[in-house]
Symmetry: C3
Subunit: 325 residues, 3 copies
Amino acid sequence: QLHTHMQDKFFPLQLVEWVLRGISCVILLNNPLSGALILAALLLESPWQALLGMLGLLASTFTAIILGQDREEVSSGLHGFNGMLVALLMGVFSSAGDWYWWLLLPVCLGGAATTFLSSSLAPVLDRWDLPVSVFPFNTVILLYLACTGTSNPYFPNHPAQPPGAPENTNHSQLHVPQLLQGVVLGVGQIFACGTVGPSLLILGAVFLFSPILAVYALLGSGISTMAGLSMSVQHSFLYSGLSGFNGALGCMVVGVFYILNWRTHLLSIANALLSAYTDIALSNLLGVLGLPASSWAATLTGTLMLLLTGKNLKEYRIPTGKVAS
Amino acid sequence: QLHTHMQDKFFPLQLVEWVLRGISCVILLNNPLSGALILAALLLESPWQALLGMLGLLASTFTAIILGQDREEVSSGLHGFNGMLVALLMGVFSSAGDWYWWLLLPVCLGGAATTFLSSSLAPVLDRWDLPVSVFPFNTVILLYLACTGTSNPYFPNHPAQPPGAPENTNHSQLHVPQLLQGVVLGVGQIFACGTVGPSLLILGAVFLFSPILAVYALLGSGISTMAGLSMSVQHSFLYSGLSGFNGALGCMVVGVFYILNWRTHLLSIANALLSAYTDIALSNLLGVLGLPASSWAATLTGTLMLLLTGKNLKEYRIPTGKVAS
Amino acid sequence: QLHTHMQDKFFPLQLVEWVLRGISCVILLNNPLSGALILAALLLESPWQALLGMLGLLASTFTAIILGQDREEVSSGLHGFNGMLVALLMGVFSSAGDWYWWLLLPVCLGGAATTFLSSSLAPVLDRWDLPVSVFPFNTVILLYLACTGTSNPYFPNHPAQPPGAPENTNHSQLHVPQLLQGVVLGVGQIFACGTVGPSLLILGAVFLFSPILAVYALLGSGISTMAGLSMSVQHSFLYSGLSGFNGALGCMVVGVFYILNWRTHLLSIANALLSAYTDIALSNLLGVLGLPASSWAATLTGTLMLLLTGKNLKEYRIPTGKVAS
């Protein structure tokens, strides 16, 4: 309704709506209000990060307009969230500190690159009714970090640690309250947020759109953290929410693309597990090169879930075109 | 005939047939008798390994039933062999010794994961009339080994050695009888068997189904071993059959999917070579990370062979649907 | 016209035309005269390299004839250029020196392998009207170098250096004339040529076919070199043209597959940038294993460019079938 209402408004106002929708798309929502709440969370976490995110989002949205992508898709924010994620991750991994203005350059280029990737992957994935999802983000951030590395004189980055590496200190006792906090942070880590307040705000944004999805996000993050425990990953991974966010996304993707019933509930739990273990495996592999696995695991297993052919599940699958709106 | 006869029987008996067919599917056969012979070989090699294999096979078959996969496919064993292979490899790479009961957990989860992958890859590969083959097995075992690693407190693994690494001892003389034994073991290594007796039993199971396929298996293993010699891989790779099994599979896949004549004979030799060299390359690459290339090489080159467009070969290609039965 | 004229000629003469067309196909041309000029450049650079290149080209062309590939495709050289590139790169990376006759063996096998890959990838890529391009070359050379490694007793290779590695010497001053020479060498590096004379001859061959493409080649190489500067890659990469050739190819691919106008001019520049940065990223990643990224970057980004769906560009895309002729 808001969407139809906005179509007569002048461009800057429309753009605001697109941007807010784009922000919410990161976490599989499509709701400007949720987007505004998430933006507030980002500002609370770090204004510099929020600025980077907005710039990346605008860069990729404008690239989409220049390329002449479908206006309907642009206005529902589908061409912005990959750019935003790339920008946020560039900011988090940069070891040059906040307000390092040169970073705006790769943020704009990276944002634009995601749109090229989205535009090109769409016809390939569309053959199997699959969404482009965050494949462009994952690809671009991996290439950016591989390109710049840790000792680049202009754009130095922190190296990512493999979660399976042995602890530096002796095997210390697990701290349960920190573990529970890590489950909540898992939701925030989807936007590279590592503090409790913003993570709760983001969880609120999900709740606003769909309470059941908020439950899924927490459930997925919890399952994923337990998977991390079962593989005895470094405690810092569990406490920071890095163990949880792929599971959260994996659980939510089933909630968004399948009609809810007890079978799809089980499927969402299965996918959270699959996503969590895949993330540990990929993080270990990429961590050898100092690279993060970002959300590759959730993206890959989520895509697999949408391809399932078993007749007990297929009837509950919502076609991709009907999900976005 | 047996298959039709079994359909009226009660479930446990049917299941036995499915399982035995599933075992034979690993090596591109579809015959319960061959499956029984291979099961005997596995029991002879190690009862623990046979147990793991059966459990993996059952886990993936039951997952297929729960997901509601096509009953016809389940009953011909197509949803079991990936789980079985994952279980066998988990057992072989585990450094916790035999009868380490905790291993049953990842075996069940890994078996189930292969079914999700099979179910999802099928619609993608089906566009080009390709079978899912052992892609799920290769993916799941690689992720499992990357996830657990060599120093995991619960599920430690042996690291895989790159075959191209320089020999530890000085360049010793090649031992021809051991080399010939390696060719036979190459057939056994398809089921992770490293001793002569079980390998001969497995070869017998192939011979029972199709004598020409047994010749192909030995021929492919031999070609593959020679390819290993030409790249001067470590002698232990040649003697243990690890050099041979990708070539054996590569040779057999042409024998199964193409009508036999002199052209396809040449193609099977070409594919054995291609598969063997690809395996050395992938083993060297993954070996850097301590991971095995398992049967990626044979799976990838076999899939390529099924896509060939040249008109001299295309007419002899048997459609995938007609091969399984 | 020449093509129709040649069809009545006897086989060796026809073959010469196919070979020359094949050579020109490497650099996205299709013109026997350009092919002859490039062959002259290769002979000038190193007769041994020229011999290897010809052998690889013939091996893959004959394999295509044996497989029964479409005669029209064979005669326009489409089944030769991948084999030629594999052979050239094998020669460049071999540390056994020139006129090491054993190298002819992998050159022939590698050339044949590219044809198998071309034949198999064609039906997959054809679904999205994509050309097979140099995917087979990139795959085969990577597998060959991974298979043989640097310490192989029969086929030893030089390791590839990651461009992002810190300089051995202290950060010396940039030498501008050498940098400009590197831009010209970037065109030559498409054929693994590292000297100025042959590079200019190859540029001339492009100019002969289409002056605008020659401008694109230089422009792309220049942009790519600047991208290398912005990431402060090793100076040797900039001076040798290794930084430039992926950008040159990236720029040219847009020029060949899109009708020229100011929009596609911008696209070609964007793709040169994308290709250049992707190449640095991939070279850093593969360089850890001592492997080169060859032209993976240009091939991948070029393929993406052909998939773009934005309506501002799609109307200018030339269908793949109409480009080759």
